[in-house]
Amino acid sequence: MKKLTELCLHEAREGLINKDFTSKELTLDHIEAMESSRSLNAFITETPEIAIKSAEESDLRLSNGTNRELEGIPIGVKDMFCTKDVLTTASSKMLSNFIPPYESTVTENLWNEGALLLGKLNNDEFAMGSSNETSFYGPVINPWKSENEKIDLVPGGSSGGSSASVAAKIGLGALGTDTGGSIRQPASFTGTVGLKPTYGRCSRWGIIAFASSLDQAGPITRNVRDNSILLKNMCSHDPKDTTSSLKEVPNFEDSIGKSVKGLKVGIPKEFFQEGMPNEIVEIWNKGKEWLKKSGAEVTDISLPNTKYALPCYYIIAPAEASSNLARYDGVRFGHSVQSSDINDFYKLTRSEGFGDEVKRRIMIGTYVLSSGYYDAYYLKAQKVRSLITEDYKNVFKNVDVILTPSTPSSAFGLNEKSDDPLSMYLNDIFTVPVNLAGLPAISVPAAKDSNGLPLGLQLIGRPFEEETIYSFAKILEDSADFKNIENQWWIK
């Protein structure tokens, strides 16, 4: 008997409605998968009791016809989302004992549609990282393994737990957050579909803030259709978030299967890097072919300020983070020390509570905002950001979507880059411009490299045009016919 975890989200949804199985049965299978996959270290907090109780309630609703959009569907949630009465850590020692008395708007939206919480997922500490190696709770292991080497690989970051769990078929989808690529890059490394919506689509209320002008919540799923279903239920206008959009939320699923005939795809020449691995160039070309075949016009475009996006991001994000993380001072919640002097109290608490990468970014952020440096760094970066945003605005006058690789490589080995922060930052090269410009973008698994590891293609759209992205994404997905992991080596 095929395990129920083999079903993807929309298949499970159908199965529940058709009463092929109950939510409880479905959920128990996912709980079993979660419990037997601990070697991946994808979850920080497992919540089987909550899941089962919710599943039972969902079964009641399914039987009396009051079922909602995501009734009975188990979901994993990145530990950056505050979940009421459930430990929420940001994968940091600083919050290792924090129990929020409130629920984030995005997760509230999902529970209101009948979804259930499988567990809280591991991520890079305070969402800062591209490999899930900075977590206080240890690294997440990528369920994918190279065909030629047996070493552990990173799942990408910061939403490493989210992407790994989805790839390992634990849960029917996972929530992630994306500030510089933290959904799309891990999706690419794990052969899953990850979307960052337009800035303002999802409420940020209740999501532990990293860089306020860049953070967005988004879904990671096994396929494009699932992704569109999950996104629809995450989005809402939230009066508690000043940066929450009033734009109507369409039924994104409707755009799956829509034709892209006559629409234009832009290929930014500046994304073509010197010394780019051939494999990346190849899948990029393949992607162009697939879209051409489906009737879209493919054309070259220029985004002149592309190369400045990374340094720009690494000024702005740490700056905002240095201020957002000032509230972690040991007074009202979180890690705290004993001291008789208030300054020592702060310093000890924060030095003990934060990991190295977080401290590094706080230092950078404080530096670029400090007196004498603000103009040359922070203000300068925000001006460059305007130029980058303008670049995209200009090309979107002539194209409807932009196609690029998601990452400059496939998943690398654990500890391979953890000593070299700069080399780690370069992972975000294709994803970061999108956050700076506030645009929506998706990563779709496109092919495997010579080691059999997943590589993703990224589609970038105009603000609030996630529908267009989904239409194109479905075509890439159908054309790629990407096969998921066969050997579930991590099951104990």
Binding site: G200, T242, Y314, R332, F345, M363, T366, S370, P421, A437
Partner: protein, 97 residues
């Protein structure tokens, strides 16, 4: 621009983070590497460019709230995670003005 040790100490103080002596060298090195790398932004001509502080679509102006009381009055919830609280107050090492 190069970051020097005095900078690092000053920044660490502003951020309320302390580094042990052997850590200072590493953080100094990291900071310099990163700052030297982001310095490439000086190549970009940003004359007459206004900065973007938010990517939010702002054509309707900032959203405002009505002046009604609809929050607070939840002292239990506010203090439940406090490492050191007594009778509804937060306790901190004594601050002398």
């Amino acid at each position: 621009m190069s970051v020097d040790k005095d900078n690092v100490i000053k920044i660490a103080n502003l951020s309320k983070i302390s580094f042990k002596d052997h850590e200072i060298e590493k953080i100094l090195e990291d900071l310099n590497q990163i700052i030297d790398w982001v310095d490439q932004l000086t190549e970009v001509n940003t004359d007459n460019v206004s900065p973007t502080f938010s990517s939010f679509d702002n054509d309707k102006g900032m959203k405002k709230r009505e002046d009604i009381v609809n929050d607070g009055d939840c002292r239990e919830d506010i203090t439940m995670n406090a490492p050191n609280s007594e009778e509804g107050f937060f306790l901190v090492p004594k601050v002398i003005d």
